[in-house]
Amino acid sequence: MNGLKPGQMQLSGRGVICVRGGREVFSGLDFEAVSGEAVAVTGPNGSGKTSLLRLIAGLLIPAGGTIVLDGGDADMTLPEQCHYLGHRDALKPALSVAENLAFWADFLGGERCGAAESLATVGLDHATHLPAAFLSAGQRRRLSLARLLTVRRPVWLLDEPTNALDVAGQDMFGELMRDHLARGGLIIAATHAPLGIDSRELRIGGGA
């Protein structure tokens, strides 16, 4: 389609309308992102940044318009090729750090790299056997990031990804995102703060 090189992907939305609770959050939204590109979705509170990510992830159904991924795995739907990192960590406090990660690796399936290695990358290798209940908010976020590393998915949907991360954590995360983009992945991030990597801005919500 529109002149994609082999192995390249393009995520695009055309005329996307989002309605939540009877209120039209945004309408006629067009966006696109190609492999190796990060898009930072910005806008005031309530402009629908999180909603947009959830629409792409298939967790909300668009009231109109289309969202497609060209050049991805034809056997899989768009949500199946996405990683969604939301406000909530999807961690079970009763399970250990390693068990939490191993569960998501097993459950999400697909191509993956070592869990121990990703825990070391995010700086949690000292805590693998500890219950996730003992982790601080920043550490929980790091553990969620380890999930993105352990299971490979081309599209990362990140909702305020740098929340709760300290400066070192943000640097580490910037590194991870650059690696991901270099491998041909693409990132859509809803954010207030600077993302820490080169990104294209997509501003939504009434041009405020």
Partner: protein, 222 residues
């Protein structure tokens, strides 16, 4: 398959760890059964006549009330989003979660039945019959109750509303469960007919439950 096995393993683990509710269901079952004689009196002959009904009611309440949080916990911590997005069909994931719940909370009820049978003066045959019918019938309770648990997530209401929604759905299971146990104990009906219907109810709910729960979860996303 690994995905489903992982989900089952995780849910059972959580249920058995600190903070998990696996054994609270049994405790509830025990308490409900112990309360009955205070209401109907300690007449052993009467209790043994009512025994199967009391055990079935207790098991029904215990298995439905523990279902409350089946999807709620996953919804609150965001796991449900990832489960919905994954390559595993949501219906299968729901079935796996219900199976894990039954293994962690339903089976202990059946194991506890003989002890409670003793309290209600049931003989070996009667206790065996009740345990067998519970074994065949509690999956139906879990899998229909799952629909209520999914609705609870959709509606953001748990607890009593769920019980009100689901208890009527479990009436057939109660009827044939108690009928089969009574048939085994006193007759004159044969045990086979109500027991087969009970098994059929379980099998039907095994199919309907996951689909209804998945549909309700999909439409309740936000």
């Amino acid at each position: 398959m690994t995905a489903l096995a992982a989900l089952i393993r995780r849910d059972i683990r959580i249920a058995l760890r600190v903070g998990g509710g696996a054994l609270i269901g049994v405790l509830f079952f025990l308490t409900v059964v112990v309360l009955m004689p205070f209401a109907v009196g300690p007449d052993l002959a009467l209790l043994s006549r009512l025994g199967p009904a009391i055990l079935w009611l207790g098991a029904l309440l215990a298995s439905l009330l523990t279902l409350d949080r089946l999807f709620m916990a996953d919804h609150e911590d965001g796991s449900l989003d990832l489960i919905t997005m994954s390559r595993t069909p949501l219906e299968l994931a729901c079935a796996a979660k219900a199976l894990a719940h039954w293994l962690a909370a339903g089976l202990p009820l059946i194991v506890a039945t003989p002890v409670l049978g003793l309290l209600l003066n049931l003989d070996m045959v009667a206790t065996g019959a009740v345990a067998l019918t519970l074994l065949a019938g509690t999956p139906a309770l879990t899998f229909t109750g799952m629909i209520g648990a999914a609705l609870a997530v959709t509606l953001h209401r748990g607890g009593l509303l769920m019980a009100v929604l689901v208890l009527p759905l479990s009436i057939p299971v109660l009827i044939f469960g108690v009928a089969a146990s009574q048939a085994a104990i006193t007759g004159p009906l044969s045990f086979g007919a109500p027991f087969s219907i009970l098994c059929a109810l379980s099998l039907v709910s095994l199919v309907i439950g996951p689909f209804a729960a998945a549909a309700s979860l999909k439409h309740g996303l936000d």
